[in-house]
């Protein structure tokens, strides 16, 4: 009964709907499943608009086109979980394909080529993380931006004027481009990477530390968590994911190119945010990145089928990002209100 006057105050502040305590958890739950809901609605809408959308061949297309974004977005998601950002992923991927292509010229070994790409990707990630943490930079924006420029330049330099270098070992083209029982192999890679990432993020202590560092870096230090190592590790994993993405893309096209991965940083950041992770750090499931990546793939694919031109696709994607960020703002607002309601309920 004691809460009556306080509730009245809440309502009189004009917060309308959300002053009702019971509405807040419901709204928060809706927000958390929102992206999946929207994805399903989009799929239904597109399948009504264009009959080709749901055909197995087209779904395979979406999977193949989304695989690279999805894998790299998973790495990006870990970085964003720690309140960071990795702008270098696209250029990193391009550099990895070029290095893979150069290795292929000298050694006809799929294993060596793949190792080179993975190593190149992780090394760039390690440099990003180490410079960010030990160079005491205020934000990883700058270093990963610099790294974007350096990697792209290096890739162009190493490719000595070629925009594409043809040829990839058969194993790699099979992984990136072929299908098994009609399911693109790249889809299996996405599932394996997702599975490993979820295992690390949810079941392992290291994953818990990533969330802790994102949630409250100061407190994480106070709790004895190796914050610097955790931060660096997320950039290494993001780079590794760019390396895996490089294998997928080089495999699908049977080529490497210093121009690959253009604007991939935007696609992956968009995937993470659209999927429902928060820029405030420490919030979001790995699945969010996946949902976001699929959503981007679905929208692009459907608008292609509907012959909507590519400029409009970019505008649509931008609008969706704005909506996703607004949803994040709304979520934080609701959480703040939930706190007030809790305080007024303390008996």
């Amino acid at each position: 009964m004691a809460e009556q006057p306080e509730m009245a105050v809440l309502r009189s502040r004009g917060d309308g709907l959300f002053a009702r305590a019971s509405v807040i958890p419901l709204a928060l739950r809706l927000l958390s499943i929102g992206p999946v809901l929207i994805l399903v609605l989009l799929a239904v809408l597109f399948s009504l608009l264009t009959p080709n959308f749901l055909k197995p061949g087209n779904l395979g297309n979406i999977a193949a086109q989304t695989a690279v974004i999805a894998i790299v977005a998973i790495g990006q998601h870990l970085v964003i979980l720690t309140r960071g950002i990795d702008l270098s992923v696209g250029a990193n991927l391009a550099l990895a394909t070029v290095i893979g292509g150069l290795v292929f010229r000298s050694f006809d070994s799929a294993i060596l080529v793949m190792l080179a790409m993975l190593l190149s990707g992780s090394a760039v990630g390690a440099v990003n993380g180490l410079v960010y943490v030990f160079g005491r930079l205020p934000h990883p924006f700058i270093i990963t931006l610099a790294s974007l420029s350096i990697c792209r330049g290096l890739a162009l330099e190493l490719a000595i004027g070629h925009t594409t270098m043809r040829g990839m070992p058969e194993l790699i083209t099979t992984i990136g481009g072929a299908s098994t029982f009609g399911v693109p192999n790249s889809l299996f890679v996405v599932l394996i990477v997702t599975g490993l990432a979820v295992l690390m993020a949810k079941a392992m202590v290291w994953g818990r530390w990533i969330y802790a560092v994102g949630g409250n870096p100061q407190a994480a230090l106070g709790m004895g968590i190796p914050v610097r190592a955790v931060l660096v590790s997320t950039y290494v994993i993001s780079g590794l994911c760019a390396g895996i993405g490089a294998i997928m893309l080089a495999g699908r096209t049977a080529a490497s190119s210093p121009l690959y991965g253009n604007l991939l940083e935007l696609d992956t950041i968009a995937a993470v945010i659209i999927g429902g992770a928060s820029f405030l750090g420490g919030r979001g499931h790995i699945g969010h990145a996946l949902v976001g990546a699929v959503m981007i793939g679905v929208i692009r694919n459907a608008l292609n089928l509907l012959n909507v031109d590519v400029f409009f696709q970019m505008i649509a994607l931008g609008l969706i990002i704005v909506m996703a960020v607004e949803a994040d703002v709304l979520r934080n607002h609701l959480e703040a209100r939930a706190r007030v309601v809790q305080a007024s309920r303390t008996q």
Partner: protein, 254 residues
């Protein structure tokens, strides 16, 4: 209160701390005893937080030593402080908003397996941590709306109770509370004060920083006053010397 035992569990001797030109601690010595609440008092900027941050491993002392159970210890990190049995609830509330109460409890010392792997690579025992945290919350009679929701959704008092409860679980010698009731209303403060009484009853040395003289008089067995980085007094706080205590804090003559 009972007679304080002869040997202090914690002693800080001749602590000096500079932040650039700021001389934050000037030859400060304090002692804390088991089963006793020691109030650490002083005006804003007196050096209270700095002193406890030195004890809990956030800042190194420039000079002086920290003695635990008669042994000089080097506390180089927060983790080291917790290893030797010093738990701290920081002024700025070191909770993780995005984690649940149980995850907060065990953050940085997760129950995990297998033991032969380094801690970071082990797998979490989520259920064990949930159960033990729930048992503690229950024992301390902390009321939470939902046990599996992130603490972002909880009130200031509930959050502070979680932070204090976390300290109770792991404290073995000393619990330091830096303004634990600063942001709380009357009812929520009461809950935290009850927890402090419980901590003391369980045999911890409690160091309590607060600006609330009522709380000091009600709870503290002893009070140490800092002013501009110097220890300017020590007494047993009660109604009769409350004015004297306040005068010491602000530096006025009585």
């Amino acid at each position: 209160m009972t007679e304080a035992p002869a040997a202090p569990v914690l002693a800080v001797r001749h602590a000096q701390k500079h932040f650039g030109a700021v001389h934050a601690l000037k030859d400060v010595s304090i002692e804390a005893y088991r089963g006793e609440v020691l109030a650490l008092l002083g005006d804003n900027g007196a050096g209270k937080s700095t002193l406890v941050k030195c004890i809990s491993g956030i800042h190194p002392l420039d000079e002086g030593e920290i003695v635990l159970d008669g042994q000089v210890v080097a506390i180089r990190s927060p983790a080291a402080a917790r290893r030797v049995g010093v738990e701290t609830v920081y002024q700025d509330l070191a909770l993780f908003d995005n984690l649940t109460p149980a995850q907060n409890f065990y953050c940085g010392r997760e129950i995990a397996f297998p033991a032969w792997l380094p801690q970071g690579l082990r797998f979490l025992r989520g259920r064990a941590m949930d159960q033990e945290a729930a048992a503690v919350i229950e024992r301390l009679k902390v009321k939470l709306p939902k046990f599996d929701a992130p603490v972002a959704l909880m009130s200031g008092g509930q959050r502070q109770a979680i932070a204090v409860a976390r300290a109770t679980v792991f404290a073995r010698k000393v619990v330091i509370l830096d303004e634990p009731t600063a942001a709380l209303g009357v009812r929520e403060s009461r809950k935290v004060l009850d927890l402090i009484v419980q901590l003391r009853a369980e045999g911890n040395a409690v160091i309590l920083i607060t600006h609330n003289m009522e709380h000091v008089i009600e709870l503290a067995d002893r009070a140490v006053v800092l002013r501009q980085g110097r220890k300017v007094g020590e007494m047993k706080p009660d109604r009769d010397n409350q004015r004297k205590l306040v005068a010491l804090i602000v530096g006025a003559e009585v």
